[in-house]
């Protein structure tokens, strides 16, 4: 799709673009849209969060409408549309977790860090997020650190230990 207002300068590093190209190559030539989740993830890993400019850049890079990428970026809560702290802690509060202490975990974190959901500590170290089911209900309460590492049975003691590791 040729568009007359392509973002001309690259917002991402050559390595990230190469990774996106690998994502695109997984799908048929006219299905670049399928690579949008991967592309957004790669961009977020490089830049820590996604700006509207970045979303538009990625959409243009894939040859899809910016709105298509924006829909995906705002639907999944692992994409961050605002700057986050060094460590992003996502606590699951869906039903099974909620029944097994998810809110206790969340409240303990709020109190310990002195922030609410969607806030970042003053030193920029921690951001707290409310998450959706991570498919690990049996290990509730579940917390995800920086989108990539899953922590099970997050009792207050386990939290203290984890936070100490992250210091």
């Amino acid at each position: 799709m040729s568009t007359n207002n392509l973002t001309t300068h690259n917002l991402l590093s050559a390595e990230s673009l190469a990774q996106i190209d690998r994502e695109v190559a997984k799908y048929p030539a006219d299905q670049a849209r399928s690579a949008v989740m991967g592309a957004l993830r790669i961009a977020q890993v490089e830049k820590r969060y996604l700006t509207n400019d970045m979303i538009e850049f990625i959409a243009n890079y894939l040859g899809i409408a910016p709105m298509m990428a924006y829909e995906v970026a705002t639907f999944y809560n692992m994409y961050d549309m605002k700057p986050v702290g060094k460590h992003k802690l996502t606590v699951c509060t869906n039903l099974p977790c909620a029944l097994s202490g998810g809110y206790t975990t969340a409240n303990y974190l709020k109190q310990k860090l002195g922030i609410d959901f969607n806030e970042t500590t003053a030193d920029g170290k921690f951001t707290l997020k409310e998450g959706e089911c991570m498919g690990a209900c049996g290990y509730a309460p579940v917390m995800l650190v920086n989108n990539h590492s899953m922590c099970n049975h997050m009792t207050p003691e386990a939290i203290d230990k984890k936070l100490a590791e992250l210091e």
Binding site: S2, N4, N52, A65, M67, Y76, N77
Partner: protein, 769 residues
């Protein structure tokens, strides 16, 4: 075929049908919101739940494929309970502000709530509120009313070709919106208003001006492009309040272009001319019709007597009706005047065909083609719904390609695209001709010199796309039709069509271009090249409606007598001697012959404003005043029957009467690409304020060039530039257009900012402003 039973009625349906399709085929109504026959299945509103025998729970009819022997109950207890439950949920967050909602009275949610809603709700908590969005000058939003059916989103993606709207966020926070900071700029955007089942998207110009039940619905026909879209014009107190599509699957389907939808605003504009006026001693004075018509009759007679019959020309808009053009031509014939020209935008009048030029097939046949090449066209803006039709055909496998003078995105997949300079359109087409000749190893068509033509890969791709295709077409767009080398382009296209077995088609530029040719209102060539002593302008403004606006205006200014028949007064005051208020298409009965040669007659939907009269009646009286025979028509139907007597279909023929010698030339230097902007095409759309506030209208105020040309000329994107052509110049904003070739200067024609410039395609100078 599958057997299915719906509410006890047995029927058979083709495999792949959904329960919804099956129910529709026998007239069983299943309540729905997200389902729309022209859109993909989303199945997200759940209103269409029905009971299916042996299914453990209600199923959505719109997304459930029919299986053999299926038994469906649409009104059983289970079904109705499910439907009522869905309705309760849909209403949880709906503001129920029907009394102040423009959709009230034509709202699917309101209607279905009557059938399935309850008088109270279990939900007592706070309702959500959603911020409104700025979608531009045409669509008004009340997003709190949105029920997230996603019809509008699917429309932009699937029908308009570019997903301008989307659903952001998730769950309770879901919102329909355009991408941050963008508006909806599609040329067919207004259709989302019709699609939206609630009052979330409504018409901005129409907002709060009437309730739907106060409006009468009258049929009419679109007067701005060659499609002839069928309209429902809604009227209150003798005033056009709104225009909606009238479904006609063979023409506009259920859609309407924004141009046809919103042009009505001009009909109620302050610029309407409501009384005849005569300029006496340099001063404009109102006159009665009798005086004005005697003035016109005597004036024209005198000019003919003094300077001969070739000193007079009538120029009419090709959006004039058959009846108007026919009586005009007859009147002129009575005076001995031959020049009656409804194609003043053309530059080359030497194309002679065996009949009136047309699409060469019906619109539905066009959709069936396996390969189509369009030559020289900004299709989306010229014929918005034709572009839509082709887009759908491409999805079904049509190979669509372009030989064009810019890279504008057709928002569909192309099999090939050759982009050339605007003065090289012929050469671009010849590349394809030569590629086909080489591919088929045949001799070059007679009269066509291909020696100097260098074939590009894109041209080869186009040639390949025609290989082995039984049904194919070559179409000539507006840019080709108005080219100074139209005859050569036409001959090359005809040759290409002959080589590939394709049909040659000429999509009519205006509502009645085909009708005008049938009647012979295409005579006199360029009537401004050698200025005449007298002009009769019918619905045209020479500075905007001629190929070379400044030349036309100069000709009008020097003429001894200029009769302007128009619905509007503005521009003509300078050069006219008499102004006669004539009806726009909504105030007269008449007929348009569309691009597929179909004559569509319509009635006036409102009474003529003030002392406005239908032009055909004016010509009738003039004929009588001048004592000519054959002007005793009682109705427009009588005129139509005379004008289109016999088999008009047999008089449509795109075959050239004689061979045209075609040869490639080279070109260099800065060249203007002048197109008629989408909302400048005729006197009505030029005066429609909402259309003039669109992004497309803003684009027409720019000079577009590619990056290399901007740099070479020392311009800056967003800065000013002065474009000079002939004696005239225009100061415009520079805009980058990556789809143009080097040295192409894309400057609108038919625009107030560029009226002093010359022909559409020609040498220009560009200076930093």
């Amino acid at each position: 075929m599958l057997e299915i039973e719906i509410d006890g009625k047995k029927l058979t349906v083709p495999g792949g049908s959904t329960v919804m399709d099956a129910a529709n085929s026998i007239g069983v109504h299943i309540p729905h919101f997200c389902y729309h026959k022209k859109l993909s299945i989303a199945a997200n509103c759940r209103m269409c739940l029905v009971q299916v025998e042996k299914a453990p729970k209600p199923l959505p009819a719109c997304a459930t494929p029919v299986t053999d022997g299926m038994k469906v109950f649409t009104h059983s207890d289970q079904a109705v309970t499910a439907q009522k439950g869905v309705m309760e949920f849909l209403l949880i967050n709906h503001p129920l502000d029907c009394p102040i909602c423009d959709q009230g009275g034509e709202c699917q949610l309101q209607d279905l709530a009557v059938g399935y809603g309850q008088s109270g709700s279990d939900y007592a908590e706070e309702k959500r509120v959603v911020a409104n969005k700025d979608l531009g000058p045409l669509i008004s939003t009340d997003m709190t009313r949105c029920i997230h059916c996603s019809r509008c989103v699917r429309f932009t993606e699937e029908i308009a070709g570019f997903q301008e709207l989307g659903m952001a966020n998730r769950g309770e926070f879901t919102e329909v919106m355009p991408f941050i900071g963008k508006t909806v700029n599609s040329e067919i955007s207004g259709n989302v208003i019709d699609l939206c089942p609630v009052g979330a998207l409504t018409s901005k110009p129409f907002r709060y001006t009437a309730r739907t039940w106060e409006l009468s619905r009258r049929k009419s026909v679109g007067a701005h492009d060659g499609l002839g879209s069928n309209l429902i014009v809604q009227v209150k107190n003798n005033k056009v309040m709104r225009v909606l599509p009238l479904e006609n699957e063979a023409i506009n389907e259920c859609w309407l272009s924004d141009r046809d939808r919103y042009s009505y605003e001009a009909l109620n504009s302050q610029e309407r001319l409501t009384k005849p006026m005569i300029k006496q001693g340099g001063v404009w004075q109102e006159a009665d019709w009798q005086t004005a018509l005697e003035y016109v009759a005597n004036g024209l007679k005198q000019v003919v007597a003094e300077h001969g019959k070739d000193s007079v020309a009538a120029v009419a808009s090709a959006n004039s009706t058959v009846e108007e053009l026919f009586t005009l031509r007859k009147l002129m014939a009575g005076l001995g005047v031959e020049a009656v020209q409804a194609f003043a935008r053309n530059a080359d009048f030497s194309v002679k065909t065996q009949g009136a030029k047309w699409l060469g097939q019906s619109l539905e046949e066009l959709s069936q083609n396996e390969a189509v090449l369009i030559v020289g066209s900004t299709v989306r803006k010229e014929q918005p719904l034709l572009a839509q039709r082709l887009r759908q055909a491409v999805k079904k496998g049509m190979a669509l390609s372009l030989v064009n003078v810019h890279g504008d995105d057709l928002l569909t997949k192309l099999a090939g695209e050759v982009i050339v300079r605007p003065d090289q359109l012929l050469e671009g087409l010849l590349q394809v001709v030569k590629a086909v000749v080489e591919l088929k190893s045949v001799a070059a068509p007679a009269g066509i010199d291909l020696a100097n033509v260098v074939v590009s890969d894109a041209a080869r791709a186009i040639a390949n796309s025609f290989e082995g295709k039984a049904k194919a077409a070559v179409l000539l767009g507006n840019i080709a039709q108005t080219s100074a080398r139209y005859a050569e382009i036409y001959a090359a296209a005809a040759a290409l069509a002959a080589l590939t077995g394709a049909k040659l088609g000429v999509p009519a530029v205006a509502a009645n271009s085909v009708g005008a040719e049938l009647i012979g209102a295409d005579l006199g060539g360029n009537v401004f090249a050698a200025a005449k002593k007298a002009y009769v302008f019918v619905g045209v403004e020479p500075e905007f409606d001629a190929h070379n606006g400044s030349q036309a205006l100069a000709a009008a200014k020097q003429a001894e007598m200029v009769v302007v028949m128009s619905a509007f007064q503005s521009c003509a005051m300078d050069y006219a001697d008499v102004l006669l208020p004539i009806s726009p298409f909504t105030e007269t009965s008449g007929t348009f012959v569309n691009m597929e040669g179909k004559a569509q007659s319509f009635n006036g939907v409102v009474r003529p404003l003030g002392e406005t009269r239908p032009a055909w009646k004016v010509f009738r009286v003039l004929g009588n005043v001048l004592g000519f025979n054959g002007f005793d028509y009682n109705s427009s139907e009588e005129i139509r029957d005379e004008a289109l007597a016999g088999d008009t279909a047999a008089r449509l023929n795109n075959t050239l009467t004689s061979a045209v010698a075609v040869s490639a030339k080279s070109a260099q230097g800065l060249v203007r690409l002048g197109e008629v902007p989408v909302y400048q095409g005729d006197a009505i759309v030029r005066r429609a304020p909402s259309l003039q506030a669109t992004a497309d209208a803003a684009l027409a105020t720019t000079v577009r060039l590619n990056a290399a040309t901007i740099a070479k000329l020392g311009l800056v994107d967003g800065g000013k530039a002065i474009v000079k052509q002939g004696q005239g110049s225009a100061e415009l904003t520079v805009k980058l257009d990556a789809g143009l070739l080097d040295d192409v200067v894309r400057v609108a024609t038919s625009h107030p900012l560029t009226r002093d410039l010359g022909e559409m395609v020609g040498a220009v100078e560009v200076l930093k402003g």
